[in-house]
Amino acid sequence: MKYLANVTTLQFFSDKCTGCGRCVEVCPHGVFEMRDKRAAVTDRDRCMECGACAKNCEFSAIAVSTGVGCAAAIINSLIYGGEPTCDCSGTASSCCG
Protein backbone atom coordinates (compact mmCIF):
# COMPACT_ATOMS: atom_id res chain seq x y z
CA MET A 1 0.00 0.00 0.00
CA LYS A 2 1.26 3.45 -0.91
CA TYR A 3 -0.05 6.86 0.02
CA LEU A 4 -0.07 10.00 -2.14
CA ALA A 5 2.82 10.41 -4.59
CA ASN A 6 5.38 13.25 -4.43
CA VAL A 7 4.37 14.67 -1.07
CA THR A 8 7.08 13.48 1.34
CA THR A 9 9.51 16.05 2.71
CA LEU A 10 12.30 13.46 2.95
CA GLN A 11 15.72 14.73 1.90
CA PHE A 12 18.84 12.59 1.65
CA PHE A 13 22.31 14.10 1.31
CA SER A 14 24.39 11.20 0.07
CA ASP A 15 27.67 13.13 0.34
CA LYS A 16 27.31 13.10 4.14
CA CYS A 17 26.47 9.37 4.30
CA THR A 18 29.13 7.11 5.83
CA GLY A 19 27.29 3.90 5.13
CA CYS A 20 26.60 2.97 8.76
CA GLY A 21 23.27 1.44 7.80
CA ARG A 22 21.19 2.87 10.65
CA CYS A 23 18.55 4.23 8.27
CA VAL A 24 18.09 0.80 6.71
CA GLU A 25 17.78 -0.64 10.22
CA VAL A 26 15.06 1.79 11.38
CA CYS A 27 12.88 2.49 8.31
CA PRO A 28 9.65 0.48 8.54
CA HIS A 29 8.90 0.94 4.84
CA GLY A 30 12.20 -0.05 3.26
CA VAL A 31 12.80 3.41 1.84
CA PHE A 32 16.58 2.99 2.21
CA GLU A 33 18.90 0.25 1.03
CA MET A 34 22.67 -0.13 0.96
CA ARG A 35 24.29 0.36 -2.45
CA ASP A 36 28.10 0.42 -2.82
CA LYS A 37 28.63 0.90 0.94
CA ARG A 38 26.32 3.90 1.09
CA ALA A 39 22.64 4.31 1.72
CA ALA A 40 20.36 5.02 -1.20
CA VAL A 41 16.71 5.93 -1.45
CA THR A 42 14.64 3.24 -3.13
CA ASP A 43 11.10 4.62 -3.31
CA ARG A 44 10.38 8.03 -1.80
CA ASP A 45 6.64 7.57 -2.05
CA ARG A 46 6.81 4.83 0.59
CA CYS A 47 8.05 7.39 3.17
CA MET A 48 5.47 8.24 5.86
CA GLU A 49 7.63 10.93 7.46
CA CYS A 50 7.95 9.13 10.81
CA GLY A 51 11.41 10.62 11.25
CA ALA A 52 13.18 7.53 12.63
CA CYS A 53 15.93 7.77 10.01
CA ALA A 54 16.68 11.46 10.53
CA LYS A 55 16.63 11.04 14.33
CA ASN A 56 19.17 8.22 14.18
CA CYS A 57 21.47 9.52 11.44
CA GLU A 58 24.62 10.60 13.29
CA PHE A 59 25.92 12.43 10.25
CA SER A 60 22.88 14.62 9.46
CA ALA A 61 22.60 13.04 6.05
CA ILE A 62 18.82 12.83 6.32
CA ALA A 63 16.20 15.52 6.89
CA VAL A 64 12.44 15.14 7.03
CA SER A 65 9.67 17.19 8.61
CA THR A 66 7.76 14.86 10.84
CA GLY A 67 4.28 15.21 12.20
CA VAL A 68 1.09 13.45 13.03
CA GLY A 69 -0.34 12.01 9.84
CA CYS A 70 -3.85 12.02 11.23
CA ALA A 71 -6.78 13.98 9.77
CA ALA A 72 -8.55 14.33 13.12
CA ALA A 73 -5.42 15.76 14.76
CA ILE A 74 -4.84 18.24 11.94
CA ILE A 75 -8.49 19.35 11.92
CA ASN A 76 -8.38 19.81 15.70
CA SER A 77 -5.25 21.92 15.42
CA LEU A 78 -6.94 24.06 12.76
CA ILE A 79 -9.95 24.64 15.00
CA TYR A 80 -8.30 24.94 18.40
CA GLY A 81 -4.83 26.05 17.33
CA GLY A 82 -1.49 24.54 18.26
CA GLU A 83 0.42 21.67 16.71
CA PRO A 84 -1.45 18.53 15.65
CA THR A 85 -1.10 15.88 18.38
CA CYS A 86 -2.40 12.38 19.00
CA ASP A 87 -4.35 13.56 22.03
CA CYS A 88 -7.59 14.22 20.13
CA SER A 89 -8.12 17.54 21.96
CA GLY A 90 -7.93 16.02 25.40
CA THR A 91 -10.86 13.65 25.12
CA ALA A 92 -10.61 10.23 26.68
CA SER A 93 -10.76 8.47 23.34
CA SER A 94 -7.30 9.15 22.02
CA CYS A 95 -6.40 7.61 18.70
CA CYS A 96 -3.34 5.85 20.06
CA GLY A 97 -3.59 2.55 21.81
Binding site: M1, Y3, L4, G30, C50, G51, N56, G69, A71, I74
Partner: protein, 359 residues
Protein backbone atom coordinates in the same frame (compact mmCIF):
# COMPACT_ATOMS: atom_id res chain seq x y z
CA UNK B 1 -0.15 5.26 55.88
CA UNK B 2 2.43 5.16 53.13
CA UNK B 3 3.68 1.71 54.16
CA UNK B 4 0.17 0.37 54.45
CA UNK B 5 -0.55 1.45 50.91
CA UNK B 6 2.60 -0.24 49.71
CA UNK B 7 1.83 -3.52 51.48
CA UNK B 8 -1.67 -3.56 50.13
CA UNK B 9 -0.45 -3.02 46.58
CA UNK B 10 -1.49 -6.05 44.60
CA UNK B 11 0.94 -8.39 42.95
CA UNK B 12 -0.08 -8.59 39.29
CA UNK B 13 -1.56 -11.94 38.23
CA UNK B 14 0.77 -12.19 35.25
CA UNK B 15 3.88 -12.43 37.44
CA UNK B 16 5.52 -15.61 38.71
CA UNK B 17 7.63 -14.72 41.71
CA UNK B 18 10.65 -12.45 41.76
CA UNK B 19 14.24 -12.50 40.56
CA UNK B 20 17.09 -10.69 42.29
CA UNK B 21 18.48 -7.86 40.24
CA UNK B 22 21.06 -5.29 41.30
CA UNK B 23 18.62 -2.63 42.37
CA UNK B 24 16.51 -5.13 44.34
CA UNK B 25 14.13 -7.93 43.40
CA UNK B 26 12.16 -7.59 40.17
CA UNK B 27 9.04 -9.44 39.08
CA UNK B 28 9.45 -12.48 36.92
CA UNK B 29 6.71 -12.39 34.30
CA UNK B 30 4.83 -15.35 32.97
CA UNK B 31 4.62 -15.81 29.20
CA UNK B 32 1.08 -17.12 29.42
CA UNK B 33 -2.06 -15.07 28.88
CA UNK B 34 -4.91 -15.47 31.32
CA UNK B 35 -8.55 -14.81 30.60
CA UNK B 36 -8.10 -11.37 32.19
CA UNK B 37 -5.31 -10.58 29.72
CA UNK B 38 -7.50 -11.49 26.72
CA UNK B 39 -10.41 -9.50 28.15
CA UNK B 40 -8.10 -6.53 28.65
CA UNK B 41 -7.04 -6.77 25.02
CA UNK B 42 -10.65 -6.73 23.82
CA UNK B 43 -11.55 -3.76 26.01
CA UNK B 44 -8.52 -1.75 25.00
CA UNK B 45 -9.15 -2.45 21.30
CA UNK B 46 -12.66 -1.07 21.53
CA UNK B 47 -12.85 1.67 24.13
CA UNK B 48 -11.15 4.34 26.19
CA UNK B 49 -10.22 1.57 28.64
CA UNK B 50 -6.86 1.59 26.84
CA UNK B 51 -6.02 5.02 28.25
CA UNK B 52 -5.26 3.56 31.63
CA UNK B 53 -4.12 0.03 30.85
CA UNK B 54 -0.55 0.01 32.10
CA UNK B 55 2.12 -1.94 33.95
CA UNK B 56 4.54 -0.24 36.33
CA UNK B 57 7.60 1.01 34.42
CA UNK B 58 10.93 -0.63 35.21
CA UNK B 59 12.81 -3.89 34.97
CA UNK B 60 11.20 -7.34 34.70
CA UNK B 61 12.60 -10.84 34.23
CA UNK B 62 11.55 -13.60 31.86
CA UNK B 63 12.76 -17.07 32.92
CA UNK B 64 16.00 -16.94 34.90
CA UNK B 65 18.12 -14.24 33.29
CA UNK B 66 21.81 -13.75 34.15
CA UNK B 67 24.37 -10.99 33.65
CA UNK B 68 24.76 -12.14 30.05
CA UNK B 69 21.09 -12.13 29.16
CA UNK B 70 19.56 -9.82 26.59
CA UNK B 71 17.64 -6.71 27.61
CA UNK B 72 14.48 -6.00 25.62
CA UNK B 73 12.97 -2.55 25.96
CA UNK B 74 9.26 -2.01 25.57
CA UNK B 75 6.35 0.29 26.47
CA UNK B 76 4.30 0.10 29.65
CA UNK B 77 1.01 -0.21 27.74
CA UNK B 78 -0.23 -3.51 29.14
CA UNK B 79 -1.28 -4.89 25.75
CA UNK B 80 2.18 -4.18 24.31
CA UNK B 81 3.85 -5.62 27.40
CA UNK B 82 1.67 -8.76 27.18
CA UNK B 83 2.60 -9.30 23.53
CA UNK B 84 6.29 -8.99 24.42
CA UNK B 85 6.23 -11.37 27.38
CA UNK B 86 4.31 -13.90 25.28
CA UNK B 87 6.89 -13.60 22.47
CA UNK B 88 9.72 -14.30 24.93
CA UNK B 89 8.27 -17.65 26.06
CA UNK B 90 11.03 -20.11 26.94
CA UNK B 91 13.79 -17.49 26.88
CA UNK B 92 15.86 -16.03 29.71
CA UNK B 93 15.87 -12.28 29.33
CA UNK B 94 15.36 -8.90 30.97
CA UNK B 95 12.51 -6.66 29.94
CA UNK B 96 12.72 -2.92 30.58
CA UNK B 97 9.36 -1.17 30.41
CA UNK B 98 9.48 2.57 29.73
CA UNK B 99 6.86 4.88 31.16
CA UNK B 100 4.88 5.65 28.00
CA UNK B 101 1.68 6.50 29.92
CA UNK B 102 -0.05 3.34 28.70
CA UNK B 103 0.58 4.10 25.03
CA UNK B 104 2.02 1.63 22.51
CA UNK B 105 5.63 1.91 21.32
CA UNK B 106 5.08 3.58 17.96
CA UNK B 107 2.60 6.23 19.09
CA UNK B 108 4.61 6.88 22.24
CA UNK B 109 7.77 7.26 20.17
CA UNK B 110 5.95 9.81 18.03
CA UNK B 111 4.98 11.74 21.15
CA UNK B 112 8.48 11.38 22.60
CA UNK B 113 7.50 9.43 25.73
CA UNK B 114 9.16 6.33 24.29
CA UNK B 115 12.21 8.50 23.90
CA UNK B 116 15.89 8.98 24.53
CA UNK B 117 15.45 10.69 27.91
CA UNK B 118 13.00 8.10 29.26
CA UNK B 119 15.26 5.23 28.15
CA UNK B 120 18.30 6.83 29.79
CA UNK B 121 16.26 7.36 32.95
CA UNK B 122 15.02 3.77 33.16
CA UNK B 123 18.49 2.34 32.41
CA UNK B 124 19.79 4.41 35.32
CA UNK B 125 16.93 3.62 37.72
CA UNK B 126 17.25 -0.12 37.10
CA UNK B 127 21.05 0.13 37.53
CA UNK B 128 21.26 -1.84 34.32
CA UNK B 129 25.03 -1.48 34.07
CA UNK B 130 25.24 -3.61 37.24
CA UNK B 131 22.43 -6.02 36.30
CA UNK B 132 24.13 -7.09 33.06
CA UNK B 133 27.79 -7.21 32.14
CA UNK B 134 27.28 -6.52 28.43
CA UNK B 135 26.36 -3.09 27.08
CA UNK B 136 23.50 -3.61 24.69
CA UNK B 137 19.78 -2.97 24.84
CA UNK B 138 17.41 -4.25 22.15
CA UNK B 139 14.59 -1.89 21.19
CA UNK B 140 11.56 -2.48 19.04
CA UNK B 141 12.37 -0.99 15.64
CA UNK B 142 9.42 1.39 15.73
CA UNK B 143 10.90 2.96 18.89
CA UNK B 144 13.50 4.58 16.62
CA UNK B 145 11.02 7.38 15.96
CA UNK B 146 11.63 8.61 19.51
CA UNK B 147 15.02 7.21 20.51
CA UNK B 148 18.33 8.46 19.17
CA UNK B 149 20.67 5.49 19.55
CA UNK B 150 23.79 7.62 19.47
CA UNK B 151 22.63 9.85 22.34
CA UNK B 152 21.75 6.81 24.48
CA UNK B 153 25.26 5.38 23.96
CA UNK B 154 26.88 8.70 24.84
CA UNK B 155 24.79 9.10 28.00
CA UNK B 156 24.74 5.52 29.33
CA UNK B 157 27.37 3.50 27.49
CA UNK B 158 24.64 1.16 26.22
CA UNK B 159 24.51 0.48 22.50
CA UNK B 160 21.03 0.39 21.04
CA UNK B 161 20.07 -2.33 18.59
CA UNK B 162 16.76 -1.85 16.85
CA UNK B 163 15.22 -5.30 16.67
CA UNK B 164 12.26 -6.47 14.64
CA UNK B 165 9.08 -4.42 14.24
CA UNK B 166 6.94 -7.22 15.68
CA UNK B 167 7.71 -8.85 19.03
CA UNK B 168 6.79 -12.26 17.62
CA UNK B 169 9.95 -12.12 15.45
CA UNK B 170 12.24 -11.73 18.48
CA UNK B 171 13.12 -15.47 18.84
CA UNK B 172 14.05 -15.72 15.13
CA UNK B 173 16.02 -12.47 15.37
CA UNK B 174 18.01 -13.75 18.35
CA UNK B 175 18.58 -17.15 16.72
CA UNK B 176 19.90 -15.46 13.57
CA UNK B 177 22.60 -13.73 15.63
CA UNK B 178 20.66 -10.50 16.16
CA UNK B 179 20.12 -10.00 12.46
CA UNK B 180 16.85 -8.91 10.94
CA UNK B 181 15.54 -10.21 7.68
CA UNK B 182 14.02 -7.52 5.47
CA UNK B 183 10.60 -8.92 6.30
CA UNK B 184 11.17 -8.33 10.01
CA UNK B 185 11.88 -4.64 9.51
CA UNK B 186 8.82 -3.83 7.43
CA UNK B 187 5.53 -2.79 8.97
CA UNK B 188 2.51 -4.42 7.44
CA UNK B 189 -1.17 -3.55 7.44
CA UNK B 190 -3.12 -6.73 6.84
CA UNK B 191 -6.86 -6.95 6.55
CA UNK B 192 -6.94 -8.34 10.08
CA UNK B 193 -4.79 -5.44 11.36
CA UNK B 194 -7.22 -3.01 9.76
CA UNK B 195 -10.27 -4.82 11.01
CA UNK B 196 -9.23 -4.69 14.68
CA UNK B 197 -8.81 -0.93 14.36
CA UNK B 198 -12.36 -0.30 13.13
CA UNK B 199 -14.16 -0.35 16.50
CA UNK B 200 -12.19 2.76 17.46
CA UNK B 201 -13.28 4.38 14.18
CA UNK B 202 -16.94 3.44 14.56
CA UNK B 203 -17.38 4.23 18.28
CA UNK B 204 -16.41 7.93 18.19
CA UNK B 205 -18.67 8.44 15.17
CA UNK B 206 -21.62 6.71 16.80
CA UNK B 207 -21.21 9.01 19.80
CA UNK B 208 -21.94 11.92 17.48
CA UNK B 209 -24.79 10.11 15.73
CA UNK B 210 -27.56 11.11 18.22
CA UNK B 211 -26.84 14.79 17.40
CA UNK B 212 -27.19 14.06 13.71
CA UNK B 213 -30.40 12.08 14.33
CA UNK B 214 -31.85 14.87 16.48
CA UNK B 215 -31.11 17.46 13.81
CA UNK B 216 -32.63 15.35 11.04
CA UNK B 217 -35.84 14.63 12.99
CA UNK B 218 -36.20 18.26 13.98
CA UNK B 219 -35.73 19.49 10.43
CA UNK B 220 -38.12 16.98 8.86
CA UNK B 221 -40.68 17.32 11.63
CA UNK B 222 -40.92 21.10 11.35
CA UNK B 223 -44.30 22.25 10.11
CA UNK B 224 -46.05 25.63 10.18
CA UNK B 225 -48.14 24.23 13.04
CA UNK B 226 -45.21 22.98 15.15
CA UNK B 227 -43.20 19.76 15.14
CA UNK B 228 -45.04 16.76 13.72
CA UNK B 229 -43.47 13.58 15.05
CA UNK B 230 -45.11 11.25 12.57
CA UNK B 231 -43.88 13.31 9.68
CA UNK B 232 -40.42 13.60 11.25
CA UNK B 233 -40.13 9.87 11.41
CA UNK B 234 -41.57 9.13 7.99
CA UNK B 235 -39.38 11.55 6.08
CA UNK B 236 -36.41 11.47 8.44
CA UNK B 237 -35.99 7.71 8.54
CA UNK B 238 -34.24 7.62 5.18
CA UNK B 239 -31.68 10.20 6.32
CA UNK B 240 -31.11 8.32 9.58
CA UNK B 241 -30.45 5.12 7.64
CA UNK B 242 -28.17 6.94 5.19
CA UNK B 243 -26.23 8.39 8.11
CA UNK B 244 -25.64 4.91 9.53
CA UNK B 245 -24.66 3.67 6.07
CA UNK B 246 -22.12 6.51 5.74
CA UNK B 247 -20.52 5.59 9.09
CA UNK B 248 -20.43 1.94 8.01
CA UNK B 249 -18.88 2.94 4.66
CA UNK B 250 -16.26 5.31 6.04
CA UNK B 251 -15.35 3.66 9.34
CA UNK B 252 -15.64 -0.01 8.44
CA UNK B 253 -15.85 -0.87 4.74
CA UNK B 254 -13.19 1.58 3.55
CA UNK B 255 -10.60 0.58 6.21
CA UNK B 256 -11.17 -3.15 5.74
CA UNK B 257 -11.13 -3.05 1.93
CA UNK B 258 -8.50 -0.28 1.81
CA UNK B 259 -6.16 -1.62 -0.91
CA UNK B 260 -9.05 -2.84 -3.03
CA UNK B 261 -10.79 0.53 -3.26
CA UNK B 262 -9.30 2.52 -6.17
CA UNK B 263 -7.09 5.62 -5.75
CA UNK B 264 -4.57 6.42 -3.02
CA UNK B 265 -6.44 9.32 -1.45
CA UNK B 266 -8.47 8.30 1.59
CA UNK B 267 -11.02 11.00 0.85
CA UNK B 268 -11.60 9.59 -2.62
CA UNK B 269 -11.71 5.99 -1.35
CA UNK B 270 -14.29 6.96 1.25
CA UNK B 271 -16.32 8.90 -1.28
CA UNK B 272 -16.48 5.94 -3.68
CA UNK B 273 -17.56 3.50 -0.96
CA UNK B 274 -19.99 6.10 0.40
CA UNK B 275 -21.53 6.55 -3.03
CA UNK B 276 -22.10 2.80 -3.25
CA UNK B 277 -23.65 2.44 0.21
CA UNK B 278 -25.79 5.54 -0.38
CA UNK B 279 -27.06 4.07 -3.64
CA UNK B 280 -27.78 0.68 -2.06
CA UNK B 281 -29.53 2.26 0.92
CA UNK B 282 -31.64 4.39 -1.41
CA UNK B 283 -32.64 1.26 -3.36
CA UNK B 284 -33.51 -0.58 -0.16
CA UNK B 285 -35.53 2.30 1.27
CA UNK B 286 -37.43 3.09 -1.93
CA UNK B 287 -35.94 6.49 -2.72
CA UNK B 288 -36.56 9.96 -1.29
CA UNK B 289 -39.96 11.04 0.11
CA UNK B 290 -42.22 12.42 -2.59
CA UNK B 291 -39.53 11.71 -5.22
CA UNK B 292 -38.26 15.23 -4.51
CA UNK B 293 -35.38 16.29 -6.75
CA UNK B 294 -34.16 18.62 -3.98
CA UNK B 295 -33.80 15.72 -1.55
CA UNK B 296 -32.30 13.43 -4.18
CA UNK B 297 -29.49 15.88 -4.88
CA UNK B 298 -29.00 16.57 -1.17
CA UNK B 299 -28.65 12.85 -0.43
CA UNK B 300 -26.00 12.25 -3.08
CA UNK B 301 -24.11 15.41 -2.12
CA UNK B 302 -24.11 14.87 1.61
CA UNK B 303 -23.69 11.18 2.41
CA UNK B 304 -20.79 10.22 0.12
CA UNK B 305 -19.03 13.35 1.43
CA UNK B 306 -19.73 12.25 5.00
CA UNK B 307 -18.30 8.81 4.29
CA UNK B 308 -15.28 10.47 2.68
CA UNK B 309 -14.72 12.62 5.77
CA UNK B 310 -14.99 9.61 8.09
CA UNK B 311 -12.63 7.54 5.92
CA UNK B 312 -10.11 10.37 6.08
CA UNK B 313 -10.04 9.98 9.88
CA UNK B 314 -8.56 6.52 9.39
CA UNK B 315 -5.28 8.15 8.30
CA UNK B 316 -4.60 8.48 12.03
CA UNK B 317 -4.58 4.72 12.47
CA UNK B 318 -2.76 3.46 9.40
CA UNK B 319 0.86 2.37 9.28
CA UNK B 320 1.76 4.24 6.12
CA UNK B 321 0.17 7.69 5.83
CA UNK B 322 2.27 10.79 6.49
CA UNK B 323 1.46 14.33 7.50
CA UNK B 324 2.25 15.97 4.15
CA UNK B 325 -0.22 13.71 2.39
CA UNK B 326 -2.99 14.22 4.94
CA UNK B 327 -2.47 17.99 4.77
CA UNK B 328 -2.81 17.85 1.02
CA UNK B 329 -6.06 15.89 1.28
CA UNK B 330 -7.50 18.26 3.86
CA UNK B 331 -6.65 21.37 1.86
CA UNK B 332 -9.04 20.20 -0.83
CA UNK B 333 -11.31 18.13 1.37
CA UNK B 334 -12.42 20.57 4.05
CA UNK B 335 -13.80 23.23 1.66
CA UNK B 336 -15.55 20.49 -0.35
CA UNK B 337 -17.13 19.01 2.79
CA UNK B 338 -18.33 22.40 4.00
CA UNK B 339 -19.79 23.35 0.61
CA UNK B 340 -21.51 19.96 0.22
CA UNK B 341 -23.05 20.22 3.71
CA UNK B 342 -24.28 23.77 3.23
CA UNK B 343 -25.82 23.07 -0.19
CA UNK B 344 -27.50 19.90 1.16
CA UNK B 345 -28.94 21.82 4.07
CA UNK B 346 -30.28 24.51 1.74
CA UNK B 347 -31.86 21.85 -0.49
CA UNK B 348 -33.57 20.16 2.46
CA UNK B 349 -34.90 23.54 3.61
CA UNK B 350 -36.17 24.21 0.09
CA UNK B 351 -37.90 20.82 0.16
CA UNK B 352 -39.58 21.77 3.45
CA UNK B 353 -40.61 25.18 2.16
CA UNK B 354 -42.18 23.57 -0.88
CA UNK B 355 -43.87 20.99 1.34
CA UNK B 356 -45.51 23.81 3.26
CA UNK B 357 -46.80 25.13 0.00
CA UNK B 358 -44.79 28.35 0.18
CA UNK B 359 -42.91 27.75 -3.06
Amino acid sequence: MQTLKFVKKEIPAWTAGTVDAQAGPVFRVSSDWSRADYWGMIKSRSSAFRMNYAVAPGLYAVGSPTKDSDVFVTANYKLTFDIVRRALAGMHAWVLALDTKSINVWCAAGKGTFGTDELVKQITLARLSEVVSHRRVILPQLGAVGVCADSVRKETGFRVSFGPVEARDIPAYVKAGYKKTKEMSLIRFSMFDRMVLTPMEINPMMKKYPWFAGGVLLLFGLAPTGILFKQAWQSGMLFLALGLAAVFAGAFVTPVLLPFVPFRSFAVKGWIVGMLTTFLTMQAMGGVPGQSAFLLVAVYLLFPALSSYIALQFTGATTYTGMSGVNKELKVGIPVYIIASVISLILVVLFKVREWGLL
